[in-house]
């Protein structure tokens, strides 16, 4: 019996590590090329934003850039189409209870094709929303008007905490 690790076993561990790293990296690369993934679903989209929180004066209007990536097979049509999809949001309390489900719609300026990403500016206008000072959550979602919300198709929404301060309505 020797205290030295067996070269065969060390080699096997390294080989296993290399195999799995290359496997995952390979699949990641193929997914970027569109060969693998969940592209079988027509309505699949990912919402993201560079902003982690919104601070809004009670009389202020602010614009939040929301990135929409189309991960499904269908094109997310812009306002010019009958099948237009809009960016919208649900307003929640800071405890995540529903407060106002239907809010402004934001037009998508041009169609977003499969694997494409576009950014839409969501304008939050508190002169219209008339929110009292406090903490809220803005939950961005896509809506195919009159048909469905994307969250109903098991897509993730994008939640951003929002603080309103200043005078009340």
């Amino acid at each position: 019996m020797t205290n030295r690790p067996s070269a065969r076993i060390v080699g096997a561990i390294c080989a296993s590590c290399i195999f799995f790293v290359f496997f995952f990296a390979g699949v990641m690369y193929l997914s970027k090329l569109g060969f693998v993934g969940n592209s079988d679903h027509p309505w699949r989209a990912s919402l993201s934003c560079d902003v982690s929180g919104i601070i809004l004066k009670s009389t202020e209007i602010t614009s939040i850039p929301v990135h929409i990536e189309n991960l499904g097979t269908e094109t997310i049509e812009s306002t010019s189409s009958e099948n237009a999809v809009f960016l919208s949001f649900h307003l929640l309390t800071h405890e995540e209870n529903d407060m106002r489900y239907d809010n402004d719609r934001y037009a998508i300026p041009e169609p977003i094709r499969k694997n494409q990403q576009k950014t839409v500016a969501a304008v939050l206008d508190n002169t219209k929303m008339k929110l009292r000072p406090g903490n809220y959550i803005v939950e961005f979602d896509l809506v195919k008007e009159g048909k469905f919300w994307f969250s109903e198709k098991e897509n993730k929404t994008l939640k951003i905490p929002m603080t309103v301060y200043g005078g009340t309505e």
Partner: protein
């Protein structure tokens, strides 16, 4: 130790667990069915639990079970492998065997349970009409393999230590309980504040649990960067555990 012995130990481990019972190994099939039924009934029907932004009645059950089944395999592998030298000392003293391979029988035994549980879970998903992509399901064995390499390494390291520190057995159980609550299995990490979400990235279990959630629940590709990190972590830990064991092998055998 020949691979036959490992397989024999795994087979015995599986059958001995249900030895003497009327239904025998069928209990291994009944347990996941009961678990799926309970979580569906309690969370979907009674509590009406839904996840934010997702409308399906079964969404919480699907989310929960997709994390719970791999976690059960992971935690059982770590806790059982961490006492494997003590549990099998009668065998070690009689048969000459390379000890590093001994925890493998735990991994195999837990894998059988995982496969059975997952099969029922997939049937449940089909019955509830949850969308699934076959190409994504093909990734599950690879995610599971990396998860179990990590579990094996951790269990192996603890197995060596527990020969000298007998309290480690209980300590591992407590740590695994705490670890469970620090892993987004029963809650969504998106619901946590941003700093807590960042903290979760320090937890390697989050990497594979998130991968299962992405595959089964969101029907999306997992984050491969996290899986690559987990792969490297698991293998480095394995190398460390093996080197540590080799340094102490003589003492381990003497203590046993």
């Amino acid at each position: 130790m020949r691979s036959n012995l490992i397989l024999e130990l795994a087979k015995r481990d599986f059958t001995e667990r249900y030895a003497g019972s009327v239904l025998g190994v069928f209990w291994a099939f009944i347990w996941p069915l009961v678990m799926i039924a309970i979580y569906t009934l309690v969370f979907s029907r009674v509590m009406g639990a839904k996840l934010p932004g997702i409308s399906s009645v079964y969404s919480y059950s699907i989310y929960l079970i997709s994390g719970l089944l791999p976690w059960t395999a992971f935690t059982n592998t770590v806790t059982r492998a961490s006492t494997v030298f003590l549990d099998k000392r009668h065998l070690i003293s009689k048969v000459s065997m390379p000890l590093p391979r001994l925890p493998l029988y735990v991994v195999i035994s837990e894998t059988v349970t995982f496969v059975v549980s997952m099969s029922f879970y997939l049937i449940f998903m089909i019955l509830t009409g949850v969308p699934m992509t076959l190409k994504l399901l093909l990734l599950v064995p690879f995610v599971y393999a990396v998860q179990q390499i990590f579990a094996f390494s951790l269990g192996f390291l603890c197995a060596t230590l527990s020969v000298f520190i007998r309290d480690l057995r209980e300590l591992v159980n407590i740590i695994m309980q705490l670890w469970f609550w620090f892993t987004p299995i029963i809650y969504m990490k998106e619901l946590l504040p941003l700093f807590a979400q960042r903290l979760l990235l320090l937890n390697p279990a989050t990497y594979f649990i998130d991968a299962y959630h992405q595959i089964f629940f969101f029907d999306q590709l997992p984050d491969f960067r996290l899986l690559i990190v987990l792969t490297v972590m698991g293998h480095v830990l394995l190398l460390m555990a093996y080197t540590f064991f080799k340094k102490l092998e003589k003492e381990v055998r003497d203590f046993l």
